[in-house]
Amino acid sequence: MKGSIKDLLQISGVHGYIIAQGKSMQVKLPSKHTFSGAKDRLWLLYKDLTEGHHRPGNTLEILLDDMLLTVFLAESTMLLVMSSLRVNQALLRMTGKLIIANMNKEKK
């Protein structure tokens, strides 16, 4: 199955991504990005989304003033993509779904 991080970064408007899995978190963002130093807050978000009560669906979109956070969840894995508001959202969701499915498959 295709769908790699490389594909994700090729989408126009994508700033970067965060992958959290269990106790590890990988942050790939430009150094001056608003979220590049916000690991603690991202941990809280991860814990809230993965440890909280079961919610329907596995894709979340958080709309900020100048940014879109798209979160893909699969069990304890979270892929969070930061992008501009003008990104092709459907393409971003499609690619994200494939990536998270791949990651989950590899984990198993």
């Binding site: 295709k2 090729q10 989408i11 459907a90 393409l91 499609m94 779904k97």
Partner: protein, 268 residues
């Protein structure tokens, strides 16, 4: 090969014959035919030990044989079976067969016979329809030409089980009598443009959800107010993603996304 009971199924149906053989504590093989199909029920001291009808074995084969209302039967004494697929008392078998026959009476009030042919209903009333995998298996074989009996053979189910599934699908409103004209279908098919993108979309979606794919594409484009001839990547991505969400099985949905992502990547 000694034969001592025989007759027409028009006068005596399978459950009654089973009862007679069981009361006489007979051993042997009851052979039944309805003209096109045959079946056998094996007895040992009046107990039913094995039954076979087409690809079906066990009690399911008896349910199938019980609905035959024409044809003939013959009982061959002392023809034992090496197989034992039934481990139920005759009374229990007959009681379950009666329940099954009652269900079949309800089904035949809607479906006249296994020769009936159905096609997809293009205008579905309910917003969301959930299908079980066996229902999907049957639905995927519907093409407006095959009869229920043909489809039963393709999917490997018994005719009466397949009729039951058709009954549910008809009640859901996803099928209609193929003899009834539905001009909307033809119109929609013609309206799908023959572009490389649409052809690829049709191909990938058909692989994931079956022959209903062109209707789903037309319906989704209408819902989203998408022009299928548009070059907009946003619109294409939106259409693909919405279609992928309509595929009930996650694995198939991802397969579809996987196939269509290439199209979008080449345009972004």
């Amino acid at each position: 090969m000694r034969q001592d009971i025989s007759g027409e199924l028009d006068n005596t149906r399978c459950p009654e014959i089973i009862k007679i053989i069981s009361l006489g504590k007979r051993s042997g093989r009851l052979y039944l035919t309805n003209g096109s199909e045959t079946g056998n029920i094996y007895f040992s001291d009046g107990e039913v030990i094995h039954a076979q009808c087409g690809a079906l074995n066990g009690v399911k084969a008896i349910y199938e044989l019980a609905v035959w209302t024409s044809g003939e039967y013959r009982f061959f004494v002392d023809e034992p079976s090496d197989l034992q697929t039934i481990n139920m008392r005759v009374d229990d078998i007959l009681s379950e067969t009666t329940t099954h026959l009652r269900q079949m009476d309800k089904i035949t009030s809607l479906i006249p016979s296994s020769a009936a042919v159905y096609a997809f209903e293009s205008e579905i009333k309910d917003k969301e329809i959930q299908l079980k995998s066996i229902q999907w298996k049957v639905l995927a074989s519907v093409d407006g030409k095959r009869s229920i009996a043909d489809i039963a053979q393709i999917v490997g189910f018994g005719v009466s089980d397949t009729m039951k599934i058709f009954y549910t699908l008809l009640k859901m409103g996803v099928l209609r009598d193929a003899a009834l004209q539905d001009t909307r279908i033809d119109r929609r098919l013609i309206e799908l443009p023959e572009t490389a993108f649409i052809n690829s979309l049709k191909h990938a979606l058909t692989q994931s959800i079956g022959p209903v794919a062109p209707f789903i594409i037309a319906e989704t484009a209408e819902e989203l107010s998408i022009d299928l001839l548009s070059d907009s990547t946003d619109q294409k991505a939106n259409l693909i993603e919405t279609l992928s969400n309509k595929i009930p099985e996650e694995k198939m949905s991802l397969k579809f996304l996987d196939a269509m992502t290439d199209w979008l990547k080449s345009e972004v």
